[in-house]
Amino acid sequence: MADTMQFELVSPERKLASGQATLVHIPGADGDMTAMPDHAPVVTTLRPGILTVEIDGNAREYAVTGGFAQVTAEGATVLADAALPKGEVTADFLNGLVAATQSGAPSDEGNKRIADLQALGAELGLSV
C-alpha cells in the first residue's frame, strides 16, 4: 500500500499546490471527508470551507469557496472556484462573495452558501 498520494489543488487561473500528500481533508457539500491513500474513487462538490492537506508531515490549510474534488486510490485533485492560503483570506474577500450570492435570486442553495461563507469567516476569525 502506498503511503502517499498525488495531490493537486488548482483554480481556474492557476495551480496552487501540488505534491505527495498523506492526508487530504475536504469540505464536501454533503459533509467533510478525509481522503487518504487507497481511498475509494469518489467525486464530490465542495462547500466554502477549509481544505487541509498534509505534505511531508506539514499540514497546509487553504480556504476554498466552492468547486469539486476527485479522489482516486492514487490521488486527490481539487478543482476550486477560488482558493487562497488560509492566512491570505480577508473579510472583504468573503463579503464580496456573500454580496455576489445575495445579488442573485434568493434560494435555499444561496442561503446555504451564505451560511457556509459566514461559518468560514467565523472559523478564520473574520466578521462576515
Partner: protein, 287 residues
C-alpha cells in the same frame, strides 16, 4: 519634380511611424509573455476538469441534463465570436470573423436560424455590416486589462441564461488558438451540448456526492465558463502574438520606405543643384 521640403516631411513622418510601430511591437512582446503565462497557468484546471467531465458524461445515459445531451433539436445556432478590443494586429480578427462567416453562410444555406453573440469590439464591427439582424448581444471587455475567470463567467452566464429560455439549441465559440508568434489558428468549438474529449475511460467507477445528476447540473455551467475562459486566454495570447508580428513587419516596411525616400531625396537635391549650376553657367556664357 517633387518638392524637397515635401520629401523631407514625408521622411520625418515615416520615421515617427516607425518609432510608434517599434514601440508597439515591444509592448506586444511584453504583453505576450504575460498572456502566455496566464494561458499556461490555466491549463491544469481545464485539463483536470475535462478528464473528470469525460468520466461523468460517459456514465450518464440519454436522460442527462440538457446542457450535455442537447435540446433534441439543431434548428437554432448561437455563435459566440470572440475577437480583440483593439486593432493593429494583422489578420487576427479578420481570420476569426472569416471562419465565423463561413459557418454562418453554411448554416443559413441549410435553413437554420443563426444568432451571433460577439465578444470584443473588432469582430462586432466586421460582422455588423453583413449580419446586423443576427447579432443578439455583445460583451464589452474594453475596460478589462487582464482577463480573469470572472470575465469568462460573465460571458458564460449570458450564454446560459439564453439557453435556459430556449433561445438556441447549439452554441459554438469562435476564437484563435495560439501556436506561435507567427501562427495563430482560428478555431470553432461546440460548447452546448457539451463535448468532452478527455480520456477518462480507464474503467474507474466513482461514487458521487451528492448524486451524479446534482454534480452534473452544477458542473456543466462551470464547464462552459472554463471553455470560454480557455478561449479568452488563447485569444489574448494570439492577439499579442499577431500584433507583435504585424508590428515587426510594419517596422521593417517603414525602414524600407525611409531608405527609398532618402535616395529619392538625395537624387532630387542633386538634381536641383545641377539645375542651378546649369542656369548659372548658361547665364554666364550668354554675357
Amino acid at each position: 519634380m517633387p518638392n524637397l521640403k515635401d520629401l523631407k516631411n514625408r521622411i520625418d513622418s515615416v520615421k515617427s511611424t516607425r518609432k510608434i510601430t517599434q514601440a508597439m511591437q515591444m509592448v506586444a512582446a511584453a504583453k505576450l509573455r504575460r498572456a502566455e503565462e496566464a494561458a499556461g497557468a490555466a491549463r491544469p484546471y481545464a485539463e483536470q476538469f475535462n478528464a473528470v467531465m469525460a468520466g461523468l458524461a460517459g456514465s450518464v445515459g440519454e436522460d442527462g441534463p440538457k446542457l450535455l445531451t442537447g435540446t433534441g433539436g439543431d434548428q437554432t445556432h448561437l455563435l459566440v465570436v470572440m475577437t480583440s478590443e483593439r486593432g493593429l494586429c494583422g489578420g487576427f480578427n479578420t481570420n476569426i470573423v472569416k471562419l465565423a462567416k463561413a459557418r454562418i453562410e453554411a448554416l443559413l444555406a441549410d435553413g437554420k436560424t443563426v444568432k451571433v453573440l460577439t465578444v470584443g469590439k473588432k469582430g462586432r464591427e466586421q460582422l455588423k455590416r453583413q449580419y446586423e439582424s443576427q447579432l443578439i448581444g455583445h460583451v464589452d471587455l474594453s475596460e478589462v486589462k487582464n482577463v480573469g475567470y470572472n470575465n469568462a463567467q460573465d460571458v458564460a452566464s449570458d450564454v446560459l441564461s439564453r439557453f435556459d429560455v430556449g433561445e438556441f439549441d447549439i452554441a459554438t465559440i469562435f476564437y484563435s488558438v495560439f501556436e506561435s508568434v507567427i501562427s495563430q489558428t482560428p478555431t470553432e468549438l461546440q460548447v452546448i451540448p457539451a463535448m468532452f474529449d478527455g480520456d477518462a475511460a480507464d474503467g474507474t467507477v466513482f461514487d458521487y456526492e451528492p448524486s451524479e445528476e446534482e454534480i452534473l447540473t452544477e458542473l456543466l455551467p462551470r464547464g462552459v465558463a472554463t471553455q470560454i475562459f480557455t478561449a479568452l486566454l488563447e485569444n489574448g495570447a494570439s492577439e499579442q502574438g499577431a500584433r507583435m508580428s504585424a508590428m515587426d513587419n510594419a517596422t521593417r516596411n517603414a525602414g524600407d520606405m525611409i531608405d527609398k525616400l532618402t535616395i529619392k531625396y538625395n537624387r532630387t537635391r542633386q538634381a536641383v543643384i545641377t539645375n542651378e549650376l546649369i542656369e548659372i553657367i548658361s547665364g554666364a556664357e550668354a554675357l
